[in-house]
Symmetry: C2
Amino acid sequence: MTPSLTEAVAQAWPPAEWRDVHLLAAVSGGADSVALLRALHKLKREAGGRGRLLVAHFDHGIRGVASADDARWVAELAEGLGLECRLGVAAGPPPASEQHARDARYRWLAETAGEVGARHIATGHTADDQTETILYRLLRGSGLAGLAGVPPHRPLTAACDVVRPLLEVTRAEVEQHLRALDQPYRTDATNAEPTYARNRMRNELLPALRLEFGEGVDAAIRRAGQQAGEAQQVVGELAARLAGEARIDGSPDEVRLSPALLAAAPPLVAREACKLAWRSAGWPEQSMGAEQWQRLYTLLCDAGTAGLQLPGGVDARWVDSIVVLRRTSAD
Amino acid sequence: MTPSLTEAVAQAWPPAEWRDVHLLAAVSGGADSVALLRALHKLKREAGGRGRLLVAHFDHGIRGVASADDARWVAELAEGLGLECRLGVAAGPPPASEQHARDARYRWLAETAGEVGARHIATGHTADDQTETILYRLLRGSGLAGLAGVPPHRPLTAACDVVRPLLEVTRAEVEQHLRALDQPYRTDATNAEPTYARNRMRNELLPALRLEFGEGVDAAIRRAGQQAGEAQQVVGELAARLAGEARIDGSPDEVRLSPALLAAAPPLVAREACKLAWRSAGWPEQSMGAEQWQRLYTLLCDAGTAGLQLPGGVDARWVDSIVVLRRTSAD
């Protein structure tokens, strides 16, 4: 009676693609990751293959005894399934932010994957996480790129990637599946990722939106995210080609660009190409926001524009018929 | 002390571009359209030119006496500014929906523009309207295209376009501007466009989001919309080129497509190209949703796929090495 979640995992990530390599399931002990582990375990048993399925749990040490209890609980779950379990504990003081906690967790997961030779790390992100991520990023101002949400696959290190086979499965389906399996889970396990605003989004904003716009609102948000991701990829490929054509060789601390090529391209593609050229110079991007990229684009379109001082100590100006970006100081 | 709104209008829509053609300002009597009219009037006086500025007001007849009062009020405002005013009244029963009311209003505006020879119809949509439109469409499931929001210019008829010079101006700035001018407006004037869900979005959802995410949330939504619009345009141009290349001549009730070209393109571009080919055949699009376009795309990518029955009585199937779409019935 509970094949649907397992089938969804098999469809999103066919066992034939991973049965012969080692796999690390990141398990917090919460419903999502426990459901993922049960599904992978079942599929692995059926598919066989040379690869091993292992469990990894990272204890952020934020919640004291409860954290240690979660770790023990996950270890027992793994043992019951006959799987090796790797436990990690955060070193030093508690993480300064959700982002730091997340970074520490992924660092440890990458290390552990390296130690056991795992090719993939599977995480339990669900369709609900995806909806929340897309809406959250939209409202925080991440633009089109952020709207794309989290990808189902992404490289983490040269040897290992992160896979999210539950991205098409809702949290309600996860809970229903676990009830049907009579599989308990840790309800108080902190995912460590949701911020305060994100929790309110999950517990207040999205329920209110479902009342107003119907249950389809989640899928509507994810569809926009999916299309934004596809559009971003199309734009990214055009931008990469354009950046290759528009970049002129110069000294290492310079980026020399052909403004004619950039100005002839669609503005979004030209701005993305500028980003790629900037990134290839290894310059800091953090302080370059939508407004700064627009200013640089405006300069490229008009030879009469005065020189620009951009963040990261980068100076941009017309020199004869090209535009030269030069890092004059590392501020 | 109140130059900013007028300057914003002049920047969004330089008087040099319209001073020599006739212009219809669509004025409901609400704050937005009254502020727009005052700004256009001032800019027109300064810029001169051969064109005339006229006022147009459409009475939907929905609110009885209050509607007629609004019409009279707008006529007096126009007279006070020395401008000709055209009044329209909805014929027949009250409109069945907001969309019908909107359609009737634009039909009348297009007719009136034709009568007076106006090249442009200017409407008072503000940045707040844009934010609400983008968020509303996202939540209603319109995908990337809807996220783009309303464009600052769009053709209405072959002879006339709609211009929205206030799209970068907030409602708060409009009200502040009118206070500074000591210019009254009709607070109860129904815009006729906002639906119930939209009113709640304006009065409840967006204020709650501003509390949670800060005042920047409006600009964040509009920036995503702007980028979605730019991406949509890039994708649209690629799709138009692809549709031209992939379409093979056939009989009038057929669309014959080269699947090899479509399957080699990014999926988003290929699906958009299918839409363009479908549209060029004049087939009904209403029942074709994201899922149906995806099914058609899947068919194009795999010669082994069985034929498809699509909405609008269109049958799609592989015939030798091409895919033939044929309208077999007009259901």
